[in-house]
Amino acid sequence: MRSWRAATVSLIPRNAERSMVGAREAVARVGEEPDVVTGEGAPAASAPAGRASAGWKVLPIVEGLVLLIALVLPWVLQDYLTVFATRVVILALFALSFDLVWGYAGIMSFGQALFFGAAGYGVALMARDLNVTSILLVLPAGTLIGLTASLLLGGFLLLGRYPSSVIFVSLGTLTGSYAADRLARGWYYLGGQNGIPSIPPLTLGSYEFEEGPIYYYMVLGILVVVYLLCRFLVRSQFGLALAGLRENEQRIAFFGYKAQHLKAIIFAVGGTIAGLAGSLYAFHEGFVWPNMLGVVFSTQVVLYVLFGGSGTLIGAVIGTVIIEGVSFWLSDNYRDVWPIILGALLLLVIMFRPLGLISFVLGERERVGSFGKAPKETGNAAP
């Protein structure tokens, strides 16, 4: 505990979770001394590596199943539940944005709601003051707001002489979203504490998107497209660079990667998606309020992703669906104690499945992924 300046680069804990404190790296530069060891638990890398090499990939099956369920949902759900499902799909989009920055690039964005909420407020203002409700304007505007906000914040937090530590980024983003929340509360133009109510429905020409199956399918379509794009991105060679970033930023800087730029780029991509989700959310819910920018939503999205399993994309979606679904059901049936039950449920999953629900079916190797050409022969563990 003396001098954490000396502490230096920790070898990233093997299960790819970056230590917040492992972020002591802040000042340290590569190579000084990676003598910081993971922790008590057995290294996860020693978990079976074999499963993925069996030939069958689990991930596409899970993805297909989820899509299938999502497609038939409006037929089996009552109206108001379809509306609820739409909301969940939008939140899943939001969760995707966080998974991209945390699960893949190892940037702990504890203020992801800032981009979500900023876009929400932006489009709400457009609707209120300029009467713009056309989907063709609203969604691009929302994404643009997300992009701009994340570029600005990312630029400040991620670029600079020294690589920024995980803890610094998480705190910086948290503070950013906290400050935005406070700003929204204090600023009358934005409606203060009360937010901006009564946003009119989204339109396309003369058609109005009422909440319901159509809105649902539209949002689902957007989610699928964004999902596929993200999937393409994280499996590309760029995705490998991200994985390197997550594992050991300083190390890959010595390969000649512009690590900080990569981080800023992926952060901005995440912000953009969050912005898209935020603008959809604002119009779907019909109002925006400061929490949407602040710590509450920021923590929530972290919860979704870690619960479902980070670094898999589909885990983020599953996490969102399950947490939202379960809270909805619990709050209906166990009104007084539902937060406690939810907490206990979360805790159990985290304790026994620290890699998220998805790890029930997904092996370590497939979760981390491999980026080269498909392996021709299977690796064998013991020589």
Partner: protein, 244 residues
């Protein structure tokens, strides 16, 4: 004009002067050994050259450019590559991906996003893995390698970027005599396009592969010259007899 020229490098840590006006000159296609007792500042000098440490004073120039103010990334892009004394492979990634990551470092963002170099680099990755006898473990996580195997992986990664100057800090730590010999053999072919600075304690190894040597002692250059000159040098012999 030498490839690398570091002059008057000093590095002070608090009260301790780890480097005191050290210098290092490496010519084109030269294998240069850096030796000296523990704590004489070899690793620190390597880090100053590669950009992992900022020297307190001194100047580093590389291929006729002053790179003193360059970041590690810029130095890497200029053609420098470093293997640290303490291995730092990317533990959860497969060996294959570790190497690919090093190989593709110089591709453009566009190529990366579209994975346009994936096929082209595949053969290179497999060649490197085969060279370093790691091909059968290509799809295991790097964390599952033993210490010596990680050293090899590190060397492979350092080589992957086709550097003009390769800096190896104790690459053979934890290797047996045989393995050292193989490492030496693996390094020989790069001489055509690359210079090498290598820190080693094993004199036989150094003698076998190096053209010139620099001896550090307590942060200063004690001697620098061809292997034969150094072997004949009185003060060098002295520190070899000295203990601790």
């Amino acid at each position: 004009m030498p490839l690398l020229e570091a002059q008057g490098i000093s590095k002070v840590f608090g009260k301790l002067t780890a480097l005191d006006g050290a210098a290092l000159t490496v010519g084109e296609n030269e294998f240069h050994g850096l030796i000296g007792p523990n704590g004489s500042g070899k690793s620190t000098l390597m880090k100053c050259v590669a950009g992992a440490e900022v020297p307190t004073t001194g100047k580093v120039s590389f291929i006729n450019t002053d790179i003193t103010a360059f970041t590690p990334t810029e130095r890497a892009r200029a053609g420098m590559s470093l293997k640290f004394q303490i291995t730092s492979v990317l533990p959860t990634l497969t060996l294959y991906d570790n190497i690919l990551l090093a190989l593709q470092a110089h591709c453009s963002l566009f190529d990366l996003v579209l994975s346009r170099t994936r096929n082209k680099l595949h053969d290179q990755v497999m060649t490197m893995l085969t060279q370093f006898r790691l091909a059968d473990r290509a799809h295991d996580a790097a964390a599952a390698l033993s210490h010596g195997q990680q050293q090899w992986l590190e060397i492979a990664m350092a080589l992957a970027g086709k550097p003009r100057l390769l800096l190896l800090d104790e690459p053979t730590g934890g290797m047996s005599l045989e393995e050292r010999r193989v490492t030496g053999e693996l390094l020989q072919p790069i001489k055509q396009h690359c210079s090498l600075v290598i820190v080693e304690h094993d004199l036989d190894f150094i003698r076998d592969i190096c053209d010139r040597l620099t001896v550090l002692d307590q942060g200063k250059v004690l001697a620098s010259g061809t292997v034969a000159e150094i072997q004949a040098n009185k003060s060098v012999q002295e520190i070899y007899l000295r203990r601790a």
